[in-house]
């Protein structure tokens, strides 16, 4: 299992110490200059997000670390928390200084409860070393972090649903605007960042934005941690520069014979072999880090069934396009598998999928038809055999 090699080359707390010597705009412009984009999937520029929250006026602000890691095939945050918890907490502390927050909250996935002791110990250690609490490292920065346990719903990884859950409500996405950077936890400006994003932020402060930019592409700078699973010889957690091609990644993990790769988890896209030369980057195939390798023997409809069942179960049920649309796609898929789905109905379902992409309230419903649509688009031969000829 690979780890964050760049971290081992780091001096512990170098980022935090550097940040202590900088003013708030300085920290934010360093993050901005690095080009760091959110590692949780959506790829929103981290510097911009921090800047919004920093600019918002409020009596209280919050830094929230999204450790709900629920996307199927994603497990890199778990490894980061296990092996580099301090780096994540360091990133949160820096973010606290940058936006003017005194409280950080780590939203930990319910299934990761076993990590809690380890994380609490790391927090206690940081408090002992004056890296958390009052007057951090002799500065005037007060900041502390608490852990909030999720209860096992995928949707609570969506940042506004996460905030709802933090407030004690049903984890359901909010309407946006307003955005959390203005109206977040307890109605206060809040930034929600992925575990990995915060870890990189600490590294960037320690090594400088140029160091980060020296990897990756123009629009997708830096390196990225991947969770690789499925039909390959060496599944696990990897670190690669952004912008590598699917083929390159598959070669590294021993999945060269794959017929497709599901990139970005169930919500991502299903990339067929003919597109393996495309690169994994926000400007081409975006990802939160999940790569599921699909070997030649896989039935794409089974794969799809698995994903759609996941969405039917995990939709919060709030909005009509997602709650009912995912169900209709799943039913349609079952018809396809039974050979009872007509060409006309398949077209109808694809059109429904397009509606879900634009009309659902949150990212879950907006991305749940992606896999369906990409399988229909890319594996026509596999489907056509199952459509009744008279239809």
């Amino acid at each position: 299992m690979s780890s964050l090699p760049t971290y081992t080359e780091q001096i512990p707390e170098a980022g935090l110490r550097a940040a202590m010597g900088m003013d708030r705009p300085g920290i934010i412009s360093a993050i901005g200059a690095s080009g760091l984009k959110g590692r949780g999937g959506a790829g929103f520029p981290t510097g911009v997000k921090w800047n919004f929250a920093a600019a918002a006026q409020a009596d209280q602000k919050f830094v929230i670390c999204n450790a709900d890691e629920g996307e199927p095939g994603t497990f890199k945050d778990r490894v980061i928390l296990q092996e580099h918890a301090d780096l994540v907490f360091e990133g949160m502390t820096i973010a606290g200084k940058a936006i003017g927050a005194h409280e950080g909250i780590l939203f930990l996935r319910g299934e990761y409860a076993y990590l809690r002791g380890h994380l609490e110990a790391a927090l206690a250690g940081r408090r002992d070393r004056n890296l958390l609490g009052r007057g951090i490292l002799g500065s005037n920065l007060d900041f502390d972090i608490r852990i909030f346990m999720g209860a096992g719903a995928y949707i609570c990884g969506e940042e506004t649903a996460l905030i709802e859950a933090l407030e004690g409500f049903r984890g359901e996405p909010r309407n946006r605007p307003p955005f959390p950077v203005n109206t977040g936890f307890m109605g206060r400006p809040s930034i929600v960042n992925n575990v990995e994003t915060l870890a990189w932020a600490a590294c960037i402060l320690g090594n400088g934005p140029e160091w980060f930019r020296s990897h990756g592409t123009e629009k997708s700078t830096g390196r990225k941690i991947f969770s690789v699973s499925g039909d390959c010889a060496r599944p696990g957690v990897y670190e690669f520069p952004m912008g590598l091609t699917v083929a390159e990644l598959l070669r590294e993990v021993g999945g060269e014979d794959a017929k497709a790769a599901q990139i970005g988890g169930a919500a991502g896209q299903c990339v067929p072999a003919k597109d393996f030369k495309r690169s994994i980057a926000f400007e081409d195939i975006p990802t939160g880090g999940s790569v599921i390798v699909l070997g030649p023997q896989r039935d794409m409809l089974d794969v799809l069934h698995n994903f759609l069942e996941f969405f039917v179960d995990e939709s919060c049920g709030q909005c009509a396009p997602c709650r009912l649309g995912t169900t209709k796609l799943l039913e349609g898929l079952d018809m396809l598998r039974k050979g009872t789905c007509s060409m006309a109905y398949l077209k109808e379902l694809c059109s429904l999928g397009e509606t879900m992409q634009v009309a659902s309230k949150c990212g879950l419903g907006q991305s749940s038809p992606n896999a369906f649509l990409s399988v229909v688009a890319n594996f026509r031969e596999e489907l056509m055999g199952r459509i009744p000829t008279h239809a």
């Binding site: 709802e164 309407n175 909005c319 396009p321 634009v358 309230k361």
Partner: protein, 640 residues
């Protein structure tokens, strides 16, 4: 003294509150407005206005389903989706506050497809047949299906029910088969009523509107107010409908069927017959009821006036106890005519039951009087009398079924009918209500009074009580203190109202009350403090203040109504409801009050007569206590 109540935070999950950006209060300030273009039309709106409201200003219709003028934004149905230039996804017009100049398109291909898909999806999950549904022709889902030209079920249509119908409540029937999960009921019950009976349970396709642990509505904490019904866009919620039994009674030649009609239905029933809100059809309704076959048509105003006499006397007795006798008495006294409010108190503030007036509601007083006084007078065996009450209220159905409501020796009120149900009965008879000739109420309860009529609006009970107390105690004409006897401080839709009424001098005790009060001296120089709250969320704010020992704990008398706006906004009134509609109904009610010759309860000749002939010991006398007063049940929040 400040009677400003702290704003009680909305309890609806904030996802359902839309985290709305407040609309700029002062649009003329710099940055107070923002330019927006909708379908090519440019306009300026106050910062924070939603796209939906902006579009309405220029006459552009955007369909809605989960949106309701009384409720916070939800943004869950997505039927109001529109395109905002520069955004990849469609935006919910009802939930999108305009804070920067944007260009909106409301009927692009993408938008039309999306809306159609949403309607088709909703229908794919909707088990129901319009022709066999109480909301036929008044259903927002049906209207959308028509608007979007649904001519087949693109994604199928359930062939058998998916949920059991919950018939356990006397008041509200829940049929989740017809539920579109707009959550309007949930927001109503939590935010408007602050009861929280229903919430969404389950996730994804299993999500459904549920009571606590999916228990029957009849056994959970529900106050039967029916506000959820009034805001449900479909037939998923309705009142428990006894019209078949009422018809049976009417058709039974042995039965003497008597109906009493409350003030609010008259001011609203026209809405079921195509009339604009605020059309009063009081006297046309009397004609219609006779044509339907009711034997006698009485005015609930009679028993409303009776309530004022009993409840007012009770208040004076409490004041005497406290001020003259120096004994403890439970203050403030709370009104008890709203059964939704009564049950709310029994559940949430049972320790305040001693504060509730023991006077029954007008509906129940009337029932008891009909089966005793009236039966004797007419020489009819009370066994053969069927009393029906036309009420704006679904909680009245529960109330008439309370086991203790049998003081006449029989069930005092046999059936509670809502305005909607009566409208249906009238339609069934083929009567075109608005075009009927007018006719009066029947004797011996036929004198329509203004004091009774205003019971229908929030503040009305208080105003009627004050009119009477002023005249009986102070000994001056109300008109001398308040122009046209309109006690404006207790009128209006403000959630909580507060007023003080100094009693600088007292008059002689009128004969009717002489057995109870030797003189009014104990009231001389007192300041009567009163308050009015409507909708149980407002009631809660007042109760919490009382618990804290705040200014409302110093009140002597508080009127509480379970429903927003009072009875005119009751859970049995015509659908839809909105602040404008309720305002129009209130207009009709106050206009009727002004038009009556008798506008004070203690001047109602029928009331004076019953004290003369039947309740001879006067208000709060022995017989009154037996027939017109009641007791309450400490329910708490426990669930059977």
């Amino acid at each position: 003294m400040s009677t400003e109540l702290p704003e009680t935070p909305k309890r609806a999950p904030s996802s359902q509150q839309g985290q709305s950006v407040a609309v700029a209060e002062n649009p003329s300030a710099i940055g107070g407005t923002v330019s927006i273009s909708i379908d090519g039309q440019a306009l300026k709106v106050p910062l924070g206005t939603t796209i939906l409201d902006a579009a309405r200003r220029i006459g552009i219709t955007i369909p809605t389903l989960c949106h309701h003028p009384d409720l916070c934004v939800a943004g869950v149905c997505r039927i109001c989706s529109v395109e905002v230039e520069g955004q990849r996804t469609l935006q919910a017009a009802c939930a999108y506050p305009v804070t920067s100049p944007i260009k909106v398109l409301t009927h692009t291909r993408k938008v039309r497809m999306a809306r159609r898909h949403i309607v088709d999806l909703l229908l794919s999950d909707h088990y129901g047949h319009c022709y066999a549904c109480g909301r036929n022709n008044n259903c927002e889902l049906q209207a959308l299906a028509k608007e979007y030209g649904v001519d087949f079920f693109r994604f199928g249509h359930p062939e058998k029910p998916m949920h059991e119908i919950d018939l356990s409540s006397y008041s509200v029937v829940r049929d989740n088969n017809k539920c579109v999960l707009c959550r309007r009921c949930v927001r109503t019950c939590i935010d408007v009523q602050d009861v929280g009976t229903i919430e969404v349970l389950g996730r994804g396709r299993t999500s459904h509107v549920a009571t606590f642990l999916d228990k029957p509505l009849g056994s959970v904490v529900c106050i039967n107010c029916g506000q959820c019904i009034n805001r449900c866009p479909t037939g998923a919620l309705r009142a428990n409908d006894p019209t078949d039994e009422v018809w049976e009674a009417i058709h039974d030649p042995k039965k003497h069927v008597v109906i009493q009609t409350a003030p609010s239905p008259r001011a609203a029933i026209g809405e079921c017959f195509g009339q604009p809100a605020g059309t009063a059809l009081t006297f046309e309704l009397n004609t219609a009821l006779r044509m339907c076959g009711f034997d006698q048509v009485f005015d609930t105003n009679f028993s409303a006036d009776l309530t004022i006499m009993e409840e007012g006397t009770e208040l004076l007795l409490r004041l005497k106890k406290a001020l003259a006798d120096g004994e403890p008495a439970a203050f403030p006294q709370f009104t008890s005519c709203s059964p939704g409010w009564v049950k709310y108190l029994e559940h949430f503030y049972p320790e305040y039951i001693p504060n509730l007036s023991t006077a029954k509601s007008p509906q129940q007083m009337f029932g008891a009087v009909i089966k005793t006084y009236y039966a004797q007078k007419q020489g009819i065996d009370p066994r053969d009398i069927v009393t029906v009450a036309l009420m704006p209220c679904s909680a009245k159905k529960f109330e008439c079924n309370r086991p203790e409501m049998d003081d006449s020796g029989y069930k005092d009120v046999d059936y509670g009918l809502t305005t909607r149900e009566l409208a249906k009965m009238i339609s069934e008879t083929g009567i075109d209500l608005p075009r009927l000739a007018k006719s009066d109420f029947d004797a011996p309860f036929g004198t329509a009074t203004g004091s009774g009529v205003i019971f229908g609006a929030t503040g009305g009970v208080m105003e009627a009580a004050l009119r009477t107390v002023i005249e009986l105690v102070v000994g001056v004409k109300v008109e001398d203190l308040f122009e046209h006897a309109d006690i404006k401080p207790v009128r209006g839709f403000e959630g909580v109202k507060y007023a003080e009424l100094p009693i600088p001098k007292v008059g002689p005790v009128p004969a009717l009350l002489a057995p109870l009060f030797p003189s009014w001296d104990f009231l001389k120089g007192a300041i009567l403090k009163v308050a009015v709250a409507h909708g149980t969320a407002n009631a809660k704010a007042v109760m919490e203040d009382i618990k804290r020992g705040g200014p409302f704990s110093q009140c002597h008398f508080i009127e509480f109504m379970g429903c927003p706006g009072g009875c005119l906004g009751g859970g049995g009134q015509p659908i839809p409801t909105s602040p404008e509609i309720r305002k129009a109904r209130a207009g009709a009610i106050y206009a009727e009050d002004s038009a009556y010759a008798v506008r004070k309860s203690h001047e109602n000749p029928d009331v004076l007569k019953i004290y003369d002939e039947f309740l001879t010991e006067g208000p709060c006398g022995h017989r009154s206590h037996k027939l017109l007063h009641t007791h309450y049940t400490e329910r708490g929040r426990y669930i059977e």
